[in-house]
Amino acid sequence: MSKIIVVTSGKGGVGKTTSTAAIGAGLAMRGKSTCVIDFDVGLRNLDMIMGCERRVVFDFINVIQGEARLNQALIKDRRLENLSILPASQTRDKDALTKEGVEKVLNELREQFDYIVCDSPAGIERGAQLAMHFADEAIVVTNPEVSSVRDSDRVLGLLSSKTHRAETGQDPIKPHLLLTRYDTARVAKGEMMPLEDVLEILAIPLLGIVPESPAVLRASNVGTPVVLEGKSPAASAYEDAVSRLMGEQIEMRVQRPERPGLLSRLMRREA
């Protein structure tokens, strides 16, 4: 049974596209056939992060509007044979997305792929709502600061009320928290929110903690998902997150833990 996972956050710039690319690639590395979809119509970025921008011929909107077949628009990744990308259109806007069109494309993708990872645009408008609408699980990307946490909370509310699963009374979308750009040194100085505070407010299971790392920006600049760009703390954090997404129990590792007891607290949270 294939799974549709939306990567969402409400707030912009927290690392949705980076996380979509890393998790999509991570799933493909684990042998799962995976498709990543860019829902950010008009501001497409995922193809750049994935390093395939020059190979885009047809896009998501072309498929929705019947101007191209799905397999014409899907781009196969050159590094991972299990990974495909469905890029967004840069010349249209979010109004070109229709609920019926999105559903049709997703149903077609379900037949081909184990995992369909939807990269949501920022905000809570049409694009973001359609990206989450048909999801089975959600990865809520959050930075350890108040406005990001507040926006994530808002998005969690939408996930539990405005989505297909909520409207048809099915099991609710399973939410996962992915804390990104976590800097233990700045948390210790009181410049960032500690993990415990974020978990207390959002009260959803933790999928992973991705440390602030120059490797992330470096990978983006060269168009490679961070998990394919050699060993870095961020890459191992994403790999762990992928394992947990696939249902494995993995110990939560925080890079450079700054005080004793943090790890045991994390383990308790996870249980």
Binding site: I124, R150, R154, L156, G157, S160, S161, E200
Partner: protein, 259 residues
């Protein structure tokens, strides 16, 4: 008043067959129509107007006619006519109250109960001290709680997230989880939050000054009862993150730590 259960061997023979009926007590709440004068055309047109304005208000509600000020209703025929006219409007009078002895007899001949005892709820909203300081009056039959059709408690077990609004239009609102900053709880009655209360809570929104707000941890952005509000800036720092109740006293919104 429970169904009959055999406890005695003498009953054994009788009890092999199911009892033809069981007795149970039941409280019902009736709508009292207090007549303010003779029953004539003006009364019926006023009744029609009210039904037009609130077509569902009377549906299925048992009515009791208060005849204290309607001495013109005397004969069985008067009561029969009144009951028939009400039935034509799909209103069901079950009895009268506050009648004279003659009126009670005439009403019972017309098939209406002559009710005794009981109290009407006040016409206007009660003051807070009415509800809290009222000693039980042993000489009177206690009122049934309140109309179950009109008062419904809304229970929410999921977290109330930022941007969500929960409205309890028929009574109390109970949240058995946390309420996020940017979420809003609105209730005609009381609000209980068994979790951290970080959003906004507005109780007694249609003017019930006796409504209260209770929470496990007060971190709210705004608390309001019957339109009187306080924002977190106005909270005494000692109540923050404490188990707290909010209530109105002399038109002042008070926040107290629950012991």
């Amino acid at each position: 008043m429970n169904s009959h259960t055999p406890t005695d061997s003498r009953d054994a023979a009788v009890d092999t067959a199911p009892a033809p009926f069981n007795l149970r007590s039941r409280f019902i709440t009736a709508v009292v129509v207090k007549l303010s004068g003779p029953v004539g055309e003006p009364f019926y047109s006023a009744l029609d107007l009210m039904i037009r304005q609130a077509p569902h208000f009377f549906v299925g509600a048992p009515l009791v006619i208060d005849v204290e000020l309607a001495s013109s209703l005397q004969d069985k025929a008067d009561f029969l006519r009144l009951a028939r006219e009400m039935r034509n409007r799909r209103l069901f009078a079950i009895g009268i109250q506050n009648g004279t002895e003659e009126q009670s007899v005439a009403a019972s001949h017309a098939g209406l109960l002559a009710l005794q005892g009981g109290r009407d709820t006040a016409l206007e909203a009660k003051r807070p001290k009415d509800r809290t300081a009222q000693a039980p009056d042993s000489t009177k039959v206690p009122d049934p709680p309140q109309d179950p059709a009109k008062v419904e408690t809304l229970i929410v077990t999921d977290p109330v997230r930022s941007g969500q609004r929960v409205f309890a239009g028929n009574g109390d609102l109970i949240v058995v989880n946390s309420v996020s900053a940017g979420a809003e709880l609105v209730a005609h009655g009381n609000i209980h939050v068994y979790g951290a209360m970080r959003g906004r809570a507005l109780a007694g929104v249609n003017g019930d000054t006796a409504a209260r707000i209770f929470c496990q941890s007060l971190e709210a952005e705004l608390i309001a009862i019957s339109g009187l509000y306080k924002t977190s800036d106005d909270f005494d720092p000692s109540v923050l993150k404490q188990r707290t109740q909010a209530y109105l006293q002399d038109d002042t919104l008070c926040l107290d730590i629950l012991k």
